[in-house]
């Protein structure tokens, strides 16, 4: 117990419940992500993987529970958490360059109306370098391939220069070269003591790429080191069959428009 003080976890999720229009999509998630680990969130379609990331980021209101970063309440922007949204969440025809998108990673550290300084520009260029995209710095983002766009998003997160990274399907639809580049990058981050939580859809590569895994299907089925938790029994629980009662109750909640907890929406 003597290590208690210096093991304040980077991310603590406590009794988190999320509901869309009174329809709970995540139930009572309790999970603590430790420092310096690569963590995969795995689960079937509609299991609430992206929703969990967004809830942790504070992008959607919680029906109950709380999230803490290093023991501090996760009020929006209070802690610098790097976020990599799904590539499809933005319009890549936006008139801007790869470098400009990466520079946006610095905006969180700038004051309102403040301009990026030389140091921010250096950090952005360095981040582009780290994902092997330096020669595409001035390329219009619509002219990048899917894998390159994903790398730009990663570089933007790197430019935030922080220790907690949340990534929504960073490997989705990327080419082999990008996949290798991302894996190397994740390992570098781990070596520097960063914590990376990534939604992952390829079960095959989970043991190879990640240390820990969270099996998720509307509730947290299991969490722990891949070697212990990533068992066929747990996978069966996560992917096998729907949960008829849960779905039924959720549907009832929706029809009666009865709110589980007070919601601000």
């Amino acid at each position: 117990m003597n290590t208690f003080v210096d093991t304040i976890p980077p991310i603590e999720v406590h009794d988190l419940t999320v509901a869309y229009h009174h329809l709970p999509v995540l139930w009572d998630i309790d999970v603590t992500f430790p420092q310096g680990k690569l963590i995969a969130i795995v689960g079937p379609n509609g299991a609430g993987k992206s929703t969990l990331l967004k809830a942790v980021m504070g992008l959607i209101p919680l029906a109950s529970g709380y999230v803490r970063f290093y023991g501090k309440s996760s009020t929006k922007g209070a802690y610098n958490v790097a976020y990599v949204p799904q590539r499809g969440s933005v319009d890549w025809d936006f008139p801007t360059t790869a470098y400009d998108v990466v520079l946006m990673g610095r905006y969180g550290q700038l004051s309102l109306f403040g301009r990026p300084r030389r140091r921010d520009r250096e950090i952005a260029l360095d981040a582009l370098n780290k994902v092997g995209m330096e020669s595409y710095a001035n390329r219009q983002i619509s002219q990048l391939s899917g894998g390159q766009q994903q790398r730009v998003f990663l570089a933007r997160a790197l430019a935030q220069q922080t220790s907690v990274y949340l990534m929504d399907e960073p490997f989705a639809g990327v080419d082999a070269a990008t996949e290798r580049a991302i894996v190397t990058l994740l390992q570098d981050l781990r070596e520097r003591g960063a914590t990376v939580v990534a939604v992952h859809h390829d079960l095959q590569t989970v043991p190879e790429y990640f240390d820990d895994v969270l099996l998720l299907n509307l509730r947290a089925v299991a969490y722990g080191p891949v070697s212990e938790v990533f068992t066929s029994e747990n996978l069966q629980k996560t992917y096998g069959g729907r949960l008829p009662m849960l779905t039924e109750v959720a549907e009832k909640l929706r029809r009666k428009e009865w709110s589980r907890r007070d919601e601000t929406d």
């Binding site: 319009d91 936006f94 008139p95 360059t97 905006y107 969180g108 309102l112």
Partner: protein, 463 residues
Amino acid sequence: MRLISISLYDMIEMLPAASAAMPDWLRFFTFQSPNVVYVLLGCMALGAGSGLIGCFSFLRKRSLIGDALAHAALPGVCMVFLLTGTKNPWVILAGASIACWVGALSIDAIVRYTRCKEDSALGMVLSVYFGLGILLLTYIQQRGDAAQSGLDNFLFGQAAAMVPRDVRVISLVSLLLIVAVVLAYKELKLMTFDPEYARAIGMPVRLLEVFLATLLVLAVAIGLQAVGVVLMAALLVTPAATARFWTHRLSIMLLLAALFGAMSGFIGAYVSYLGPKMPTGPWMVIAVTFVFLVSLLLAPQRGLLARWLRISRYRRKTLHENVLRTLYLLGEPDKDWQQLYSIDAMMKRRTFIPNTLAGVLSRLKKGGFVQEPVGGQFRLTESGILRAARLTRLHRLWEIYLTKKLELPSDHVHADAEEVEHIITPAMEVELAATLDYPEEDPHRKVVPAPVATAESSEDSQS
């Protein structure tokens, strides 16, 4: 109050005698009447300000919101006139802004609390508020009050009816819009590109939404006098859409949109000067739409002409390469490419339109890929053989790739390879050969030609 009905045209009489001898269309450019300059500046400032703000609505794919807000402004204008009896531009601006905000909040409320989507909400708010505005306008006009004359200018705009006080308000607010966009450039940019990420890194996105909406409301409100509620939307959308043709940078796009907006303001004011009964709004819209059409046609990369050129260049390249490959295939059985082939012989190997084929051959001859030692008899030159061999290599590599990696039957792969042979880059060629372990025969047991070491012909590099 009679002052308002003085048009630019009437002001000509105030000009010095020398310039009075000039025709109207020329005298305008002497800029001697301070009032002409005033109105001109007002219209240009308005065009620039609304063009600038319109870029953000355009990029957020919410262009129509400006239209709904402009229509929603009319009842506000009428209401403050009924209440105060003046057409003081500050009062009008306040009335229009309040009505715009109420309109915006109505749209928001409809989307939030009903099953209606945003497009229906926009449609409803636009027509209901506009209808209400017309009702009030009719009521005011029937009262027969002298002060109300010119209130209907708010429908289509009448730049000539503007007095210096109006122009001052327009210019001031436009300047404010420009300063606001320059100041909050970074925030507006990120919020437009990726609002979710903006919130994730702690930007006050809700606040910025209100900020941007306020700018939009102001842009609409100052446009009412010169352009009118009906056509204001065009001044928000069209400059942005036009600017997007010419650049890949947001900063330049903003600059261009402001410029196009100012240009249309200039033209609108000019026409209003020449024909004092002409409403300004339609002319500004026509001017900016003309620039849009020119851009649509001529813009590099995004323009129709550029796209058409790209497609026809690619078609021509494909055709040339098909002819080269036909000659190559004819000579392949005997490994002898010195033989001569007539157009008929080539047509037997592959279907071409005879005239087209003749044209292609003469161009290939000029390019040094084909010789015609005897009239009507052709063969490949040294560089022609190299290029055709490479195409054949790519064609066959791709067939192997499809049969081996995708396990497609070998009689299904030819058509696909016909397309792909024209687009594979040297880097892809190297990778393809490596993945397939440097094969020597294709699925049809034909030899894969060895890699061609020479540099790519310029035509092959990215098109």
